[in-house]
């Protein structure tokens, strides 16, 4: 090979000695090296990394579409549907099918068509981009005409589609608001938790009531459709289909007509009072089944799913009576005299007093420290035994048996034992009803007071606890549950709101049988003494609850007038909540109940007539006459 640099290609005979051979070979070598590099790269792509790309190709062509199950329904005891899934049009986006350069016009078009705000749409889009293969909802409850227009203009709106979904429509949302609750978008802080349960961020979930407590059961599980799609997002055919697991239906223990009537009875009585607010719980003593649960003022479940006007929503939120809260289970109140049965049974069981032992009541007990504790009756009840003390609601008697009396050397039950009895009656902890937001209440002890108020426990605290004042806090449901237990012979039942769950074919998927929470630590003999006291409270002339007397059955129960700190009235008295709790019939009771009228004044005037009307209604099935039309009607202005 000659040197490349020497020019040799001369004319004529020098013909064959042309230059550039070495350099041409060099170029050939470079070309071979280049192609060898390509071959190496092909080996890498097609052999070494092939599995990765195969996966990506499969991922490319397969589009997964979740099939959302229909949300389960809710029925009342008589299988009357309380909620329906109404069809509604929503707008969805397959993020991978919307090229970024077409986002702008597509979102602007959608904003006009759906009435959504452009920045909201953009936010949802940016959220959806995080999971490009998961369709996301851009707008819900779009009018039918808009839905049709969007369908027609699909060419301008790549990746956008209209789906028919559902919205909850509550048949008796106005009377069942606190029980059924409502559904709505997931609160931002809970999105992550729900995502782990397989719930998408833009799905409606139960936010209150049964809708919330049974969310997982009502929702069911997503099905999945895998589609083969081409590069333009057109579905070609189905690769696989897993049907959704339809949500279960719930059958409640309440009957909508009874709930409606009892709510109406409470509403009528409250209507007479300016700041009418109150709660009623009625349950079956034997099973704990909730018959009715009302907390007024309440709300209509439908305003949340239909989209409440901001005005009505603002009213709900700003109302000082807090209508969005179910006060029957979440409201905490001092129970007043309805609580006295606990101290009574404790004193009997502990042998502090004999049933027939009489304690003198002269209207006031002054401790050596100088503190005075009054009875509600200034002149006193005289000598009272246990039954009379309950019937006439004598405070002095219960001060004596709970905190003791330094003058008579009577050893009271004491704070520790009293608190034990309170707990065994179901206080200080949640009853376990199938509703969210239940409060546990407070059973005060010296430890609690030390820790939370940094104050020592004094005898007066025990006195107050015995009569349901001071630090004690309970929910109306707890009170109803206690009276049901006294009525049924001593079993504290777990309140039952959901009787059973049905599968999509209507077969029972799960039953929730009645459950005993605890047995009252009270002997049958002593329980009968309590029951007799409660009977006499309603049915004897000196009793505090004659206005609870029913003409259709025998009622046993107890009034309560629970003072709470607030502005005193003209005579220097604290404002008070009015209670009446009991059961009916007195023998083998069918109903246990608690009635609370917030800021209602005297329990015997404000709450007892409500209990009577409810019992009358439950016994006859007829609505009782309006309170004003009753012969024993007492104007709400009346104060004793």
């Amino acid at each position: 090979m000659e040197a490349h640099s020497r020019p040799t290609a001369r004319t004529g005979a020098g013909q064959r000695r042309i230059s550039g051979t070495r350099r041409a070979l060099l170029l050939g070598g470079a070309a071979l090296a280049g192609n060898a590099a390509l071959a190496g790269r092909l080996w890498q792509l097609q052999v070494v990394e092939s599995d990765t790309y195969r996966e990506q190709a499969a991922h490319n062509r397969a589009r997964t579409r979740p099939i959302q199950p229909l949300r389960g329904l809710i029925y009342d005891r008589n299988r009357e549907p309380l909620v329906a899934n109404a069809p509604v049009f929503s707008v969805w986006l397959a993020p991978a099918d919307l090229p970024p350069e077409r986002e702008g016009p597509a979102m602007a078009n959608l904003a006009v068509l759906t009435g959504e705000r452009l920045e909201d749409l953009r936010f949802k889009l940016s959220q959806a981009r995080l999971a490009p293969d998961t369709p996301a909802r851009l707008a819900r409850a779009v009018p039918r005409e808009s839905a049709l227009t969007i369908e027609e203009r699909r060419q301008e709106l790549p990746g956008i589609s209209v789906r028919t979904s559902t919205r909850r429509e509550y048949a008796h949302g106005d009377v069942l608001g606190h029980i059924l609750g409502f559904t709505g978008p997931i609160p931002a802080e809970e999105v992550e938790a729900y995502r782990q349960q397989g719930v998408r961020f833009d799905e409606d979930i139960g936010l209150a009531g049964i809708e919330r407590s049974l969310q997982t059961r009502l929702r069911g599980r997503d099905g999945e459709q895998r589609l083969e799609t081409d590069a333009f997002g057109r579905a070609l055919h189905e690769l696989s289909f897993t049907p959704p697991q339809v949500g279960q239906h719930a059958v409640l223990t309440i009957a909508v007509n009874e709930q409606q009537a009892i709510r109406e009875i409470l509403a009528r009585h409250l209507a007479l009072r300016e700041r009418g607010a109150g709660a009623v719980v009625v349950l079956r003593p034997d099973s704990g089944d909730i018959v009715a649960m009302v907390s007024l003022p309440d709300y209509d479940s439908n305003i949340f799913t239909r989209g409440a006007s901001s005005e009505s929503f603002a009213l709900l939120v700003s109302d000082p009576r807090r209508p969005l809260i179910n006060h029957a289970i979440s409201g905490l109140y001092p129970p007043g005299s309805t609580y006295k049965v606990i101290a009574a049974s404790g004193a009997l069981e502990a042998g502090v007093v004999l049933p027939q032992s009489k304690i003198h009541c002269d209207g006031r007990l002054i401790l050596p420290s100088g503190w005075a504790f009054d009875d509600w009756l200034p002149q006193g009840h005289g000598f009272v035994d246990l039954q009379r003390a309950i019937a006439e609601s004598c405070n002095i008697y219960f001060y004596n048996v709970s905190g003791g009396n330094p003058y008579t050397q009577l050893q009271g039950l004491g704070n520790r034992r009293l608190a034990e009895f309170e707990r065994s009656f179901g206080f200080g902890e949640r009853t376990g009803i199938d509703l969210p937001g239940e409060a546990s209440g407070l059973v005060p002890t010296s430890e609690w007071k030390n820790r939370n108020l940094q104050q020592p426990w004094v005898t007066g605290d025990t006195y107050h606890a015995a009569i349901g004042q001071g630090l004690v806090q309970v929910t109306p449901l707890q009170i109803a549950s206690m009276y049901a237990a006294i009525g049924n012979g001593g079993r504290v039942m777990r309140p039952r709101l959901v009787d059973r769950l049905l599968d999509q074919h209507g077969k029972v998927a799960e039953r929730f049988p009645p459950r005993v929470r605890s047995i009252l630590p009270v002997s049958d003999t002593n329980l009968r003494l309590l029951q007799a006291g409660l009977y006499r409270a309603v049915n004897e002339p000196q009793g505090t609850g004659p206005r609870a007397r029913s003409s259709h059955t025998v009622v046993a129960g107890k009034t309560g007038t629970a003072e709470y700190s607030g502005a005193r009235d003209a005579e220097g008295r604290l404002p008070s909540h009015a209670w009446f709790a009991g059961y009916a019939p007195a023998e083998q009771p069918e109903y246990g109940f608690a009635v609370l009228v917030r800021d209602g004044g005297e329990g015997s005037f404000a709450a007892a007539p409500i209990a009577r009307d409810i019992v009358d209604y439950l016994m006859t099935g007829d609505m009782p006459p309006l309170p004003q039309e009753r012969p024993d009607f007492i104007s709400p202005d009346h104060r004793l």
């Binding site: 192609n35 092939s50 790309y53 190709a57 590069a231």
Partner: protein
């Protein structure tokens, strides 16, 4: 005549036919299902390939040295066509690259590649004793920059770069000094930041995408990523002809032209891609061997130019398919759809065959270059290249 046939380079012919066949095969899997006869692009390509190949055979009989005399006029004609296409060409996909004359589309830059090879070969072989002079290299550079810059203005950066690759290879073999060649490369590298500053957005975008196709999977990086997925998912033997979700469901775009190699990779796997690469390598090696055996410098440089054209285009195209090169819109010679490119490549193969068949004891053997030059007017009247 028989003697000439015997001298035909069969390896060249076979690899050419094989590459065209690969193209026909691939196009047949993407053709509209209801297109029949000549409407079918695979059939069109097969027919055109056959005609072109027959033409190449015919060219083998003609002494390539007729081109020496045609070089100047053909080069001028090509430059005129490039100017014309800039002025009145059809504006399509943001560029002016071709004329549409009824059903026929003419893309001057394709023909210009061959015209430039012929012109460079003539220029460099005529000055084979002065290629070491900077002046010769610089004038040659100017000669190359005329068509290259016209093509660049279309804009078609890829093809412009092909011109410079061809030129570099030819000047290198012609015997230019190393530093004469290295200096422009160094200058080009040094100028890169400035070029970046003045470059059009699509060029920058392509460069960025080349470096990181995942940066914008739905936008600029889409094709690169999809091509890589297509090829990779092919595995050893591919999904089979007409199979493969990437190309059949059109995740792979421009699958008939720029990314036909990716489609091949998906359908025929490593076996197919290696086969294709082997035939390209064979063809390029043959072109080089023909160049080495050529009877004169003109023939050698012609063959080197054609080899450089085939290699640079196939390397850039396959490199872009596998993600080793940026996207430049260079098609795969002989394989891609594109009749101009097919025709020009087959013409080039015809020239190779002619160089080969006239390498040795041919009738012209005793003739000197002067004689050849003198005979050119007559030769020109013989050739079929004027078409």
């Amino acid at each position: 005549m028989l003697v000439r046939l015997a001298r035909i380079e069969w390896a060249t012919i076979i690899s050419t036919i094989a590459l065209v066949a690969f193209g026909v095969l691939m196009l047949s899997t993407t053709a509209e299902p209801d297109s029949t006869g000549l409407e079918n692009q695979a059939v069109q390509k097969a027919v055109l390939g056959a005609v072109g190949l027959a033409f190449a055979f015919a060219m083998a009989q003609v002494d390539y040295r007729v081109l020496h005399g045609l070089a100047g006029p053909v080069f001028l004609l090509g430059v005129l066509a490039l100017i014309l296409v800039l002025l009145v060409g059809d504006f399509d996909l943001g560029a002016r690259r071709w004329f549409e004359l009824g059903p026929i589309v003419i893309q001057p830059s394709e023909f210009m590649k061959l015209a430039a090879i012929v012109a460079f070969a003539k220029y460099l072989s005529d000055r084979s004793d002065s290629t070491r002079l900077l002046r010769t290299v610089m004038v040659g550079l100017g000669l190359m920059l005329i068509p290259a810059s016209l093509v660049f203005l279309q804009p078609d950066l890829g093809t412009a770069l092909i011109f410079s690759a061809i030129w570099m290879a030819m000047v290198f073999v012609a015997g230019a000094r190393w530093w004469h060649l290295l200096t422009p490369i160094v200058i080009a590298l040094a100028a890169f930041p400035f070029a970046w500053f003045f470059a059009q957005d699509y060029m920058r975008q392509r460069f960025v995408t080349f470096l990181d196709p995942g940066s914008d999977p739905l936008g600029a990086g889409y094709n690169v990523l999809q091509a890589r997925i297509s090829i990779g998912s092919g595995g050893w033997f591919g999904h089979g002809l007409g199979q493969g979700s990437q190309s059949q469901l059109e995740f792979l775009r421009v699958r008939d032209t720029d990314f036909i190699f990716a489609m091949l990779g998906e359908q025929l796997g490593l076996a197919g891609t290696m086969g294709l690469l082997a035939f390209f390598t064979l063809l390029i090696v043959q072109a080089l061997v023909i160049g080495l055996r050529a009877r004169d410098m003109f023939g050698r440089l012609l063959a080197i130019g054609i080899a450089a054209m085939l290699f640079s285009q196939s390397f850039v195209n396959i490199g872009m398919n596998v993600g080793l090169m940026p996207v430049t819109g260079i098609t795969l010679p002989l394989v891609s759809l594109g009749k101009n490119s097919l025709l020009v490549t087959l013409l080039s193969v015809g020239i190779l065959l002619s160089i080969h068949s006239h390498r040795g004891a041919a009738p012209f053997r005793q003739q000197s270059m002067h004689v050849v030059r003198g005979s050119l007017p007559a030769a020109g009247s013989r050739g079929g290249l004027g078409r």
